[in-house]
């Protein structure tokens, strides 16, 4: 490897090194704040190093990884999201008894896994990244061992994720057995020159790949684990699963499809279309029934992945832009939603019932305003980024003449409005009885975080032009 390769890999190397540094620091002296600070510095330095890596991009580093602007864009997104998660985690665990430094080590490893995913061009790095991410997640979900829910959630995730990894491996094996390559870029040529698009091996292999990825994305019918894990895991970890973990897979899947000309596999596209429709309907329908905010958000995130897949099926340059924009929006809103749940959590108990938020607008107007903005963005209402994101997805769908999918998306947006508004209404309604449930205040860092997220939400909703341009420049690498 030359020094240029090192420059290109610098962001990932910095993340790896900082996890080791935190590990060593914990071995010498435990201090929650220092561990938190080290992880923050690691992520920030890694984020800055994206620019130096950008100077040598695109660069294929070993057959496994490619560092191009596409990868750098998603790495940047992942790093920023992880900074938010780290801050949330610090606030969440501050008054928690027992060991807490280790979570920052696994957090860094999970970030590393996700970073590898977005830059991989090879089945080996795909699987490696995925497993690094997943195994770190087991630990993060079950981190609070003292209570039973996180443990239950951790075990559930362990079993289902392991099973999905097995599917994934089998899919890779079938493709390799038939085509004799693990490189994404070679797959397309081998399919065309060899067995053709309708080969049973190719279709089965791709289907199994999709199954494995579908588990991680929690799209219907692979969504069963989501509500329990979302509910059981500590809120900051839930935020991480919902954003960084899913975002990494989406970026990888998109690259895989573009590189392997997956868009010529009509059967697969139809299957993804069905998955999209099922995710929208099941996610929204089940979200309607929820009384628990975390479960509600879990089902809503299933539906949102469904919307995203509509653009995915559409394909083309507009779709890649739409997916990227939607992911950014989805990251901001999801981090905002779980961030608020996590910041309002008192030691040991999270406020997860909708009833807990009744009258929040009058007791804590600013937090409620931020939460309202997040909900409106999830619902896709103007002045918020969610509106622009949904607009781009619909645009991508219409541009590919996927009118059926687009109409179903419209129907689902209307259904989804109901439960988002229900939360808003709960916050607006006057608390019954004499004593309003007073939620705890939040720390300064939490406040700044919410201001930042809400600000980004409104900025990208009102003036999306710069971000659109950035995405357009970055995505040029894969188109």
């Amino acid at each position: 490897m030359s020094s240029v390769d090192f420059t290109a890999l610098m962001p990932l190397l910095i993340i790896s090194v900082s996890s080791v540094i935190i590990l060593l620091n914990v071995a010498m002296k435990r201090n929650h704040f220092v561990s938190f600070l080290l992880s923050l510095i690691g992520l920030a330095v890694a984020f800055v190093s994206l620019w130096s890596a950008g100077t040598v991009a695109p660069r294929q580093v070993t057959p496994l990884l490619i560092i191009d602007t596409y990868a750098l864009f998603f790495m940047g997104l992942i790093f920023v999201a992880s900074i938010v998660v780290a801050i949330l985690t610090y606030n969440y665990l501050r008054y928690h008894e027992g060991a807490k430094d280790e979570i920052y080590i696994v957090l860094m490893l999970a970030v590393l896994g996700s970073g590898v995913l977005v830059s991989s061009t090879h089945f080996a790095s795909f699987f490696l990244g995925l497993e690094v991410l997943t195994i770190s997640l087991y630990v993060m979900i079950a981190f609070l061992r003292s209570s039973e829910f996180p443990l239950e959630a951790g075990i559930k995730y362990l079993i289902l994720a392991a099973a999905s990894s097995a599917f994934l491996l089998l899919g890779m094996a079938l493709l390799y057995g038939e085509l004799g390559t693990l490189q994404f870029a070679d797959l397309a040529d081998r399919i065309a020159s060899g067995p053709g698009e309708n080969s049973l091996f190719v279709l089965t292999g791709t289907a199994l790949l999709l199954t494995g990825a579908g588990f991680k994305l929690a799209v219907v019918p692979f969504h069963m684990w989501t509500p329990d894990v979302y509910e059981g895991a500590p809120a900051p970890v839930t935020a991480f699963i919902a954003t960084v973990s899913k975002g990494g897979i989406v970026a990888l899947l998109l690259r895989y499809f573009l590189l392997t000309s997956g868009y010529s596999l009509n059967t697969v596209l139809i299957a993804i279309g069905f998955i999209a429709v099922a995710s929208m309907f099941v996610g929204n329908y089940l979200a309607l029934m929820q009384e628990n905010v975390k479960r509600l958000l879990a089902y809503s995130s299933i539906a949102h992945l469904g919307y995203l897949l509509v653009a995915f099926v559409a394909g083309g340059a507009l779709a890649v832009e739409a997916i990227s924009y939607y992911l950014v929006v989805y990251f901001i809103t999801t981090l905002g939603a779980f961030g608020i749940v996590s910041l309002l959590a008192e030691t040991g108990s999270e406020k997860t019932s909708i009833e807990d938020y009744r009258g929040l607008f009058w007791s804590r107007p600013w937090i409620a305003a931020a939460f309202t903005a997040v909900m409106l963005s999830l619902a896709g209402i103007p002045l918020t980024a969610g509106f622009v994101g949904k607009f781009f997805v619909v645009t991508a769908g219409v541009s590919a003449a996927q009118y059926g999918l687009v109409i179903l998306l419209v129907v689902n947006s209307a259904i989804a409005l109901y439960y988002y508004l229900r939360l808003v209404v709960a916050m607006l309604s006057s608390p019954d009885g004499e004593e309003a449930p007073v939620l705890p205040g939040i720390s300064l860092s939490g406040k700044l975080l919410l201001v930042g997220l809400t600000g980004a939400l409104i900025y990208f909703g009102v003036y999306p032009s710069p971000l659109v341009q950035l995405i357009r420049d970055m995505m040029a690498a894969v188109l």
Binding site: L376, T395, S399, Y403, V410, S413, L421, L428, S465
Partner: protein, 531 residues
């Protein structure tokens, strides 16, 4: 720039009202009032300075324009333009804005600052809808006005407010998304024809669309607008929303939000899809006639005074729908006139109901009766507004409905005949309101104060305008005429399309359409701002 200020004043006013509402509720009332008066003055100044016909020919039909880039990558811009129709609607918006601030002066006592924030933001959104000439921008404002309206109903509404607010929101949002899909369909069709991505109305207006696709796209717009209008059978959100909204909310709903639907038909459905619109015109006129009769019959069956007035809106807006789809200038003028006068008379009635409800805490007409003795002034005003609503000659509503019917008669006699029956029904329910609330024996001895000076002034201004429009409607008709004639010219009745033009009317038809002159439009905007 002046156009931008029309929208910015309520937006800024709303934020200030919210901030200062924490200090003193009265301050936020005054800020809102001043903001809306400024807006009204601005609109009136534009009206006086720009006699509509003069500016018409050399500006592509727009009296004023404002253009700035927004999301250039997708061809989206801040493009506002004002012609006769939008000018009248903006005047109505600003006037009803002032009225609704005054109407909630003593009505709203809780969370005053946030209330006025929502009120002014709705007005800003409505103004934006009336001015936007970029389809994305239009959709943006179309959705933006819903949120504050939702809050208005959900927080300050009466008993069943949450249900009504959510119903209102889902109906309008879902239909709005259909319109978004249609907008995008138009956008990509235009791209396929010309290779240019743009949401600019003046450029999209010439797009030639395959006729089956045009029908679908037109329906996307049409559904969104008739839900707002509302036409039977998608009117069911309206009685609930009107009934449970606070007084100012009802005034704005009836006076402005319904009008955005009619405005959308004028601005987008007719010029963008002339042939498809001509094809569904008979159907739309039947919908209008059904709405007139259905609304009137249901109004007659109500006990709740506010609900009754809500159903009369369904009936009156039926005339608007008939007028729009009659495709001649007389009917168009009638529709515009009806929109304005319905906003005033129904708004006034809602304010009266609000005052009564505030004092006796019921809207059940069975418990009223004989109120005239204790509140003669209110009774007289109600009598006047009821007369206006039933279409008494000499008042504005008569002019509007009469013109709409004359226009429709030339096109479709059976529908017109049915619609005329609606006028008889209107007489019945209007007199019924007065009979049951103000006349007869007092069933429960209510003690309520008569109209205050403030409310009397509001009512007086509405009454004066209604009489003015009834006796001398010329200024309004003149203002709207150029824009309406242009729309009329853009449409060729379906029979003529088949008869005379071998190649479909679209291309021929648009070449002599002055709206289509896109280039001078862009250049003039800068100089235009200065004036």
């Amino acid at each position: 720039m002046i156009l931008l200020w029309l929208i910015l004043i309520p937006i800024i006013g709303g934020v200030l009202a919210w901030i200062f509402g924490k200090v003193n509720p009265l301050l936020s009332r005054w800020i809102s009032l001043i903001a809306m008066i400024l807006d009204l003055i601005l609109a009136v100044v534009i009206w006086i300075q720009h006699p509509a016909q003069i500016a018409l020919e050399n500006q592509g039909g727009w009296l004023l324009q404002f253009q700035a880039p927004w999301i250039p990558q997708y061809g989206i811009g801040f493009y506002f333009g004002l012609d006769g129709i939008s000018l009248l609607m903006v005047l109505l918006t600003a006037f009803l804005g002032v009225v609704s601030v005054l109407a909630s002066w003593s009505d709203i006592r809780e969370r005053v600052g946030f209330f006025h924030f929502n009120l002014l933001w709705i007005l800003a959104g409505v103004t934006g809808v009336f001015l936007a000439l970029d389809l994305f921008l239009f959709y943006f404002f179309w959705e933006m006005m819903l949120i504050p309206m939702y809050f208005l109903i959900a927080i300050w509404g009466s008993a069943n407010r949450i249900y009504s607010a959510i119903k209102f929101f889902i109906f309008t949002q879902a239909s709005g998304l259909l319109m978004l899909v249609a907008i995008l369909g138009l956008y990509f069709t235009h791209f396929q024809n010309t290779g240019v991505y743009t949401f600019n109305y003046t450029e999209l207006i010439g797009t030639s669309i395959p006729s089956h696709l045009a029908m679908w796209l037109m329906l996307g717009f049409f559904i969104a607008f008739v839900v707002k209008l509302p036409a039977v059978p998608v009117h069911t959100w309206l009685p609930d929303a009107h009934t449970d909204a606070p007084t100012a909310g009802s005034v704005i709903l009836a006076g402005l939000l319904l009008k955005t639907g009619a405005y959308g038909l004028f601005r987008f459905v007719l010029p963008l899809f002339p042939n498809a619109a001509a094809q569904i015109a008979p159907f739309a006129m039947i919908l209008g006639a059904v709405g007139i009769i259905y609304g009137a019959v249901l109004a007659f069956a109500q006990n709740d005074l506010k609900r009754l007035i809500a159903y009369t809106s369904v009936s009156h807006l039926g005339f608007v729908l008939i007028g729009i789809f009659a495709f001649n200038e007389l009917a168009f003028q009638g529709a515009i006139m009806t929109m304005i006068c319905h906003g005033l008379s129904t708004g006034g009635l809602f304010i009266l109901v609000g005052i009564i409800y505030d004092k006796i805490h019921t809207r059940d007409m069975d418990r009223m009766g004989g109120l005239w003795e204790s509140v003669p002034r209110m009774g007289a005003v109600a009598m006047f507004l009821a007369m206006a609503s039933l279409g008494l000659p000499g008042l504005g509503n008569f002019v509007g409905e009469f013109l709409a019917l004359i226009g429709a008669f030339q096109v479709n006699i059976p529908v017109t005949a049915v619609a005329v029956v609606g006028l008889v029904f209107a007489t019945v329910y209007s007199l019924w309101i007065i009979q049951r609330t103000f006349h007869g024996e007092q069933r429960e001895s209510w003690e309520l104060p008569d109209l205050s000076i403030r409310n009397l002034a509001v009512m007086a201004s509405m009454i004066i305008i209604l009489i003015w429009l009834g006796l001398f409607p010329k200024p309004v008709l003149d203002t709207a005429r150029p824009a309406l004639q242009k729309i009329e010219r853009g449409i060729i009745p379906i029979s003529q399309v088949e008869d005379q033009t071998p190649n479909p009317g679209m291309s021929r038809n648009l070449s002599d359409n002055p709206l289509h002159i896109a280039e001078p439009v862009n250049h003039n905007s800068a100089e235009q701002e200065g004036t």
